[in-house]
Amino acid sequence: MKSVAQLALDAAFRRGVTYADARLVAIRNRSLSTKSGRVGHTSESESLGIGVRVIADGAWGFAASADLSRASVEAASARAVEVAKASARVKREEVRLAPEPVAVAEWTTPYEIDPFTRSAQQNLDLLLKIDAELRAVAGVTLAETGMNFQREESWFLSSEGSDIHQTKYSTGAGYTAYAFAGSEIQKRSYPNSFGGQWQNRGYELIEEMKLVESARRVAEEAVALHHAEQCPEGTATIILDGSQLGLQIHESVGHPIELDRVLGMEANFAGTSFLTLDKLRNLRYGSELVNVVADARQEHGPGLGTFAYDDEGVAAQSTPIITRGLFTGYLSSRETAHTIGAARSGGTLRAECWNRLPMIRMTNVSILPGETPLSLEQLIASTDDGIYMETNKSWSIDDKRYNFQFGCEIAWEIKNGKRVRMLKNPSYSGITTEFWNSMDAICSREEWTLWGTPNCGKGQPQQVVGTGHGASPARFRNIRVGSAYKGS
């Protein structure tokens, strides 16, 4: 495979480029699901191809091909150069890349069990067992389960001499119970909504998640929601579980710190960011308890944003994003590093597959746990009057990442340190910096989980990649709740 990538680089250089890299990627994926006692979808996929990125006449060009014959690879390089020269017709400045040491490396996701060694029969047996547990609860009208595995092997060669071979595994699973009655549809998911929990691990993740053991409780909650009171509308103290806080980080920290958004490069689709360059090391993003990092290193955990090198050959790093509430860092690339005075890229350029141009993406953007020991139950016990919300149901935020609204699947009212009653249709909304400045407690390491978001979309053509978000439950004061149902 390396020789194919080298062929692409050689062909590009014969056409007068100043920089080139080639990524050859082979992906294998298995996706299984069940629905109310029957197998839903079952598929295996393989995709193989090469993407060639070049700078010619000071501008970028990219071309990709699934055909790895010599003629086709050379043609892809020629097209990349032709495209770059066309780009140069409408340019204001030459592309500048921050220097990066040459890397020659091999790396594979640490895992205990290769998920593809578990048979589809075993996979489906487990999903159908969960499904039976869900449907054993009277009132459940629909049960859905799913499981996914991916193996991505890539060979990255650059004209600067980097030669990186990486193999990444990811695993995900989860389920949802629905209950339709009267004029309401309620649902509960486990361990998270929209596909469950995902990490860069092997099948051991599936075995650790207590999927079967949790199914009955989850289904009972879906049915019980029909008898719960509506979440009130007004201002309240709220506690968010770790999975919801993970998505809150994704939307109101992870996206606005993408330097390409900040620089206007995403203005037509994903939008821009309120985090203009003047705010770096000046903006009070959150309270003193808010510490956020973007960390792609294995030592941070096996997140969907964990790797050894990004897709332009920059080593994985940990970047302080919010430090004791102060905004301290962006997600950057070799092309954008100079705009914030950085000598080196933050190592966040990633592509969905061989046929997509790598772009700045979240790695694992995580809030660090509290340093003082604090469990969720202790946090609830220390709250006189509030609402505890779990598991995302809907999410929306404006194109500069100021105003957000999240809905959760379930909530409980807290009075005098105790959960007193279940609430349905909980939602909360606010302005990003006001929200993070209202955080007055966060649980400690024992409650911290590195959640996976497998479906983050960005770019044109849109690319979907997985991101990681470590979080533990946290408390926020004076938050607007319930406006999702106000007057609608």
Partner: protein
């Protein structure tokens, strides 16, 4: 890219490699190019060529799928084996039907074009080069420079081929092109946006789109903040398509059977205003896409909503069979395979994706809607729309890139953007006026033929900071 003959040859090899009772292969083959610009410069510029075969095997009630993008014997054998292995471990599904035959594919009522194929391949579009795209971007940048604005956007062109073959003799093929331009114009505290696409690049007018986007950016400068609340809104077609798109997953037989549709217990009722008529018509001259569904069944024209009453939903073959046997059969209107199924196996069944809104009795263009509005909000585009309540069909989202205050029949000023929480059932019951439907494209839903709408009591719940 693959030709039909090459695909047929690959399918012959797949059949030889398979021991399944039935085999199906869906081919997608495309050449795609996209030039992306921002800060008045081209910053990303890509081309891609790829072909994929998706193989489904059937064994007496068992079915599964495997995909590959390499067509050598070893890769195809591996994909066939993967599909067969996944199929064989399943318990037989009594509702799984044999694959359709050519006769079945062509049965049923004819489409709007009486069965004729819509031509959606245009040499002009297929022949666009990187230099052609750069020159168009240069003209868009010139418009930005003229208005002292910053522009960002895309110009993409593609040629794609889709084919389906099965071992019962069905074979079908579709060839099309698509060109798309999207333009954002940015001022210090405002922005404007326009987007358009068509199979024929000659239908696009990038400079007009750029001028309109620029005009919106200029006219919405120094936006005012007004209190959220219920307002009469004028939604341009892109805003309409992005918000209504969230309900069409529910116009599906499987959604009804799964009790996850907002149409459960509501088919045949006066759900929307009497001025709302919605159909699904692949063959409509402003539509795009292939004439067959994920099993190869020819798409049929379906009238979904008539004078505000939901008349029916769409069906894949097996969903129609299940619905006929269900307790809902007498309450859901006509039940027949309509050619809207997704490739099997899947959980969601089917969905209408060639939506065409009916023209109103007396159409008003946006200018007329503004002129007849005492106080309201003109909305260019909606953004980040998500479902809040699945049965009342409440969706939330933001306005974006050109939100204006309308007073006394005139556009008065730009407005800071709003968050809305709006029931689609209520919204489509409160439509006061509509324009002639046009092909519209947004970012939250698939392209549709939709009108601009003037809607009373649209529910804005919060305002943002810009």
């Amino acid at each position: 890219m693959l030709t039909r003959e090459q695909a047929a040859g690959i399918f012959d090899r797949i059949r030889r490699f398979s021991s399944a009772d039935e085999v199906e292969a869906i081919f997608t083959s495309s050449r795609f190019a996209l030039t992306r610009f921002a800060n008045n410069t081209i910053h990303q510029n890509v081309e891609e060529e790829n072909s994929v075969v998706s193989i489904r095997t059937n064994f007496a009630g068992q079915t599964a799928r495997a995909n590959a993008n390499q067509f050598d014997d070893e890769s195809l054998r591996r994909a066939v084996a993967a599909s067969e292995n996944l199929a064989r471990v399943q318990a037989p599904d009594p509702d799984l039907l044999p694959m359709p035959t050519t006769e079945e594919e062509n049965s049923g009522e004819a489409s709007a074009c009486e069965g004729a194929r819509a031509i959606r391949f245009f040499e002009h579009t297929a022949g666009i080069t990187p230099v052609d795209r750069a020159e168009v971007v240069k003209r868009i940048v010139s418009v930005a420079d003229k208005h002292q604005l910053t522009t960002a956007g895309i110009y993409s062109t593609s040629e794609s081929r889709e084919g389906i073959f099965n071992s019962r003799g069905l074979a079908d093929w579709h060839h099309q092109t698509l060109a798309e331009v999207s333009v954002t114009m940015l001022a210090p505290d405002s922005s404007g946006w326009q987007k358009s696409n068509s199979p024929d690049v000659r239908n696009l007018d990038p400079e007009r789109l750029a001028e309109t986007a620029a005009q919106k950016a200029v006219e919405s400068a120094h936006p005012r903040e007004i209190a959220p609340g219920k307002y009469t809104v004028i939604l341009e077609p892109a805003a309409v398509l992005d918000i209504v798109g969230f309900m069409f997953w529910d116009f599906s037989g499987v959604a009804i059977l799964d009790l996850r549709s907002f149409l459960n217990d509501r088919i045949g009722t006066q759900l929307f205003g009497r001025n709302i008529n919605i159909g699904d018509d692949y063959a409509h001259p402003l539509q795009a896409g292939s004439p067959f569904d994920g099993e190869g069944v020819r798409r049929r024209r379906v009238q979904l909503v008539e004078n505000g009453v939901v008349k029916r939903v769409v069906y894949a073959r097996s969903t129609a069979q299940k619905m006929r046997k269900s307790k809902y059969a007498a309450t859901v209107g006509p039940i027949e395979a309509t050619g809207h199924g997704f490739p099997l196996p899947n959980e969601v069944g089917e969905m209408p994706m060639n939506i065409v809104f009916g023209a109103p009795e007396r159409a008003q263009d946006v200018t007329e809607m503004i002129a007849s509005t005492e106080r309201g909000v003109l909305v260019t585009r909606l953004w980040y729309i998500r479902e809040v309540d699945p049965y009342e069909k409440i969706v939330t989202g933001m306005t974006r890139d050109g939100t204006f205050l309308v007073e006394n029949g005139k556009v008065k000023s730009g407005l800071r953007n709003f968050r809305f929480n709006q029931s689609l059932v209520s919204m489509l019951s409160n439509v006061e006026a509509m324009s002639i439907p046009v092909r519209a494209s947004g970012e939250e839903s698939f392209d549709m033929v939709v009108p601009a709408m003037k809607v009373r009591e649209f529910n804005f719940t919060e305002a943002t900071k810009f």
